[in-house]
């Protein structure tokens, strides 16, 4: 079965639950006291989609979103972006639009965008109506789901939807300059070299 590596980057304000969503997806666990993102540099999970294996390489912000200091490297080569807001914080939905703008500016042109309204387990404190968010997502042709990393609601679904929207492999133009990763063994790197 063909294996495809798909880079996914997370965007959204500090505290909306970006890391919790990844944590739930990758390790199927939840920590209410998760640190403001430090420590997780690289998270991966492989899922099957039709006759392909999709290996998601998930990049977390490492806190660099806090003062809007995400580097262009962060967006580079992403197949998809998940932009997260907190349904109990109107502010976090308003700034979502800035993240979309930022992504349009720095991200690859054909990136798949998913919008996740997180913390849907505490809808008593809801500030963002589901319909508003859905309408906005539709207007930018983005995937939309409300999620709860805490109660494991719709987390896998986000990634399933992303898999569906990723263009089929042979339709994707190969990027002109494919490089290789440095390894400790030269021979290993040479094998991967184009």
């Amino acid at each position: 079965m063909a294996l495809r590596e798909l880079k996914v980057c997370l965007l959204g304000d500090t505290g909306v639950g970006k890391s919790s969503i990844v944590w739930r997806f990758v390790e199927d666990s939840f920590d209410p006291n998760i640190n403001p993102t430090i420590g997780a540099s690289f998270m991966t999970k492989t899922v099957q989609h039709q006759n392909e294996l999709h290996k998601f390489l998930i990049w977390d912000t490492a806190g660099q979103e806090r003062f809007r200091a995400l580097a262009p490297m962060y967006y580079r080569g992403s197949a998809a972006a998940i932009i997260v807001y907190d349904i109990t914080k109107e502010d976090s939905f308003q700034t979502l639009k800035n993240w979309v703008k930022e992504l349009r500016q720095h991200g690859p042109p054909n990136i798949v965008v998913a919008i996740a309204g997180n913390k849907c387990d505490i809808s008593d404190a809801r500030e963002v109506p589901e319909k508003d968010a859905k309408d906005y997502a539709d207007s930018i042709h983005a995937i939309f789901v409300e999620t709860s990393a805490k109660n494991a609601i719709n987390i896998n679904e986000v990634f399933i939807e992303i898999s569906k929207r990723i263009p089929v492999a042979d339709a994707v133009a190969e990027t002109p300059g494919r490089g290789f990763k440095l390894g400790r063994q030269a021979s290993e790197s040479r094998r991967m070299c184009c």
């Binding site: 430090i38 420590g39 998270m43 991966t44 998930i58 490492a62 200091a69 262009p72 440095l182």
Partner: protein
């Protein structure tokens, strides 16, 4: 921002970002700021192309023939990575290499008598190269075997020479190498920019040749590597490392004052707020009063629509113009990369010529390099001061980095990083200091 940090770092150049990463990994609380809205400071890759035109005060926008502005990532300082050098070692130990993709530079060339020749990258190439006569080749081969076996701690390999006393000139004499081969070895393999090394102890020169051949052995073609999307990816990668270990990042922050009390740094003022710190790292542009000028470098960024002539149409290369070929004291370098590295629009090449300034007409000095590149679609000329700190910073706890020099790789940058580390901590730099202290790779990539 109104907080207390162990270390504040100003400027997101490569040196600063690597030090920031090391300090964060060591558990220090780091605040890293840059006055510019982009990462990389002097070691940035400028994107889009429109910004490069603005930076060099060129009127109007790039012409349509330049393609999409966003396809460009133009380095301000031309350098390559030695495949077996210190920067690669730092990338591997920190695993920052996960964020980057590389390509091998396709060839290295040397200028002789108005023409360019390929620097032989294999023994077969060396034996068929027109750079040397047949007897010379045999003697050169013996010399290379001596260098390969050379270990300063193993007297058996030294053939009676003293690595710390015998001059490199005597080593060349010992192997009866002629002037051409000496020039070639000193400038294209040991990568010396002047001939001063000839009368210094041979240890350093021999180790430089070893670095060259070991780097070459790793991937073939050339000893150099280049990251896709430009050198500006390197500082970004180390900044991410620092952030993962808790470093705070702020761009576009005007730095109003570095606050010093009783001769010691206590904080930094930006936009009316003060962040306090015990130690400060910055590039020379943030504290010019504590720097002195030791020279100038001219760099000419040239956009081409063709590969360089007589290089077999490869999409990346280095050309060295040895000083004595053009009656100078310092070599001229050309580094060429292209659309194949995601730094230029389709079909475009970027060649950057650089050298140490010797006269008051630097553009004339660099002309021999530009002549090799014609026709040039667009030139961007810069003349930068080489600044170094006036003191070690151990009293003030303000540690300044050096400007990026005219060398063609990052070895001197790494030396500067190690040196600053030693000044900051009082202990000698050890690469293992950079090793990640916690497991931070999760999912099925975590082995």
């Amino acid at each position: 921002m109104n907080e207390e940090y162990d270390v504040i770092v100003l400027g997101t150049g490569l040196t600063e970002c690597i030090l920031s990463g090391i300090m964060s990994v060591k558990g220090k609380k780091v605040l890293h700021m840059d006055r510019n809205p982009y990462y990389g400071a002097e070691s940035a890759s400028i994107t889009p192309l429109e910004d490069l035109y603005k930076r060099f005060n060129l009127p109007g926008n790039p012409p349509e023939s330049m393609g999409k502005g966003r396809d460009w990532n133009v380095d301000l300082v031309p350098k390559f990575l030695m495949a077996n050098g210190q920067l690669v070692r730092m990338l591997l130990i920190t695993q920052v290499t996960r964020y980057l993709d590389f390509k091998v530079i396709e060839g290295s060339y040397v200028y002789k008598g108005g023409k360019i020749f390929k620097v032989p990258s294999t023994e077969t190439e060396a034996l068929s190269s027109s750079l040397m006569g047949i007897f010379e080749k045999r003697r050169f081969r013996n010399f290379l075997i001596f260098v390969a076996n050379f270990d300063e701690n193993d007297p058996k390999t030294l053939e009676g020479i003293d690595p710390h006393k015998t001059s490199m000139r005597s080593i060349f004499q010992k192997f009866k190498l002629g002037q051409d081969v000496i020039d070639f070895t000193g400038h294209s393999l040991a990568l010396y920019r002047t001939d001063d090394y000839l009368d210094l102890p041979c240890n350093e020169a021999i180790n430089r040749i070893k670095l060259y051949s070991e780097s070459l052995a790793r991937y073939g073609k050339s000893p150099y590597l280049y990251p896709l999307y430009g050198l500006g990816e390197l500082p970004q990668g180390f900044a991410r490392l620092s952030a993962i270990y808790g470093g705070t990042y702020m761009l576009n922050k005007p730095i109003e004052e570095i606050i010093v009390e009783n001769g010691k740094v206590v904080g930094v003022k930006s936009e009316g707020e003060i962040a306090r710190c015990k130690q400060l790292i910055c590039d020379p542009s943030y504290f010019k009063d504590r720097t002195k000028k030791i020279g100038q470098v001219i760099r000419v960024i040239c956009v081409l629509s063709h590969p360089i002539q007589n290089t077999g149409d490869i999409n990346s290369c280095q050309i060295i113009i040895p000083q004595n070929q053009v009656s100078r004291k310092h070599d001229i370098y050309v580094c060429m990369i292209s659309f194949a590295h995601n730094v230029a629009a389709q079909g475009k090449y970027i060649a950057i010529a650089s050298t140490t300034v010797e006269t008051d007409n630097p553009e004339k000095e660099i002309k021999p390099a530009l002549d090799l590149l014609e026709p040039i679609d667009q030139k961007f000329v810069s003349i930068s001061d080489l600044l170094v700190p006036t003191d070690s910073g151990t009293d003030s706890q303000i540690f300044l980095s050096r400007s990026y020099d005219a060398t063609t790789h990052f070895e001197t940058t790494c030396d500067d990083i190690k040196n600053i580390y030693q000044r900051m901590t009082g202990t000698e730099f050890d690469f293992t200091e950079m090793e990640r202290k916690q497991q931070d790779i999760f999912g099925d990539a975590a082995e």
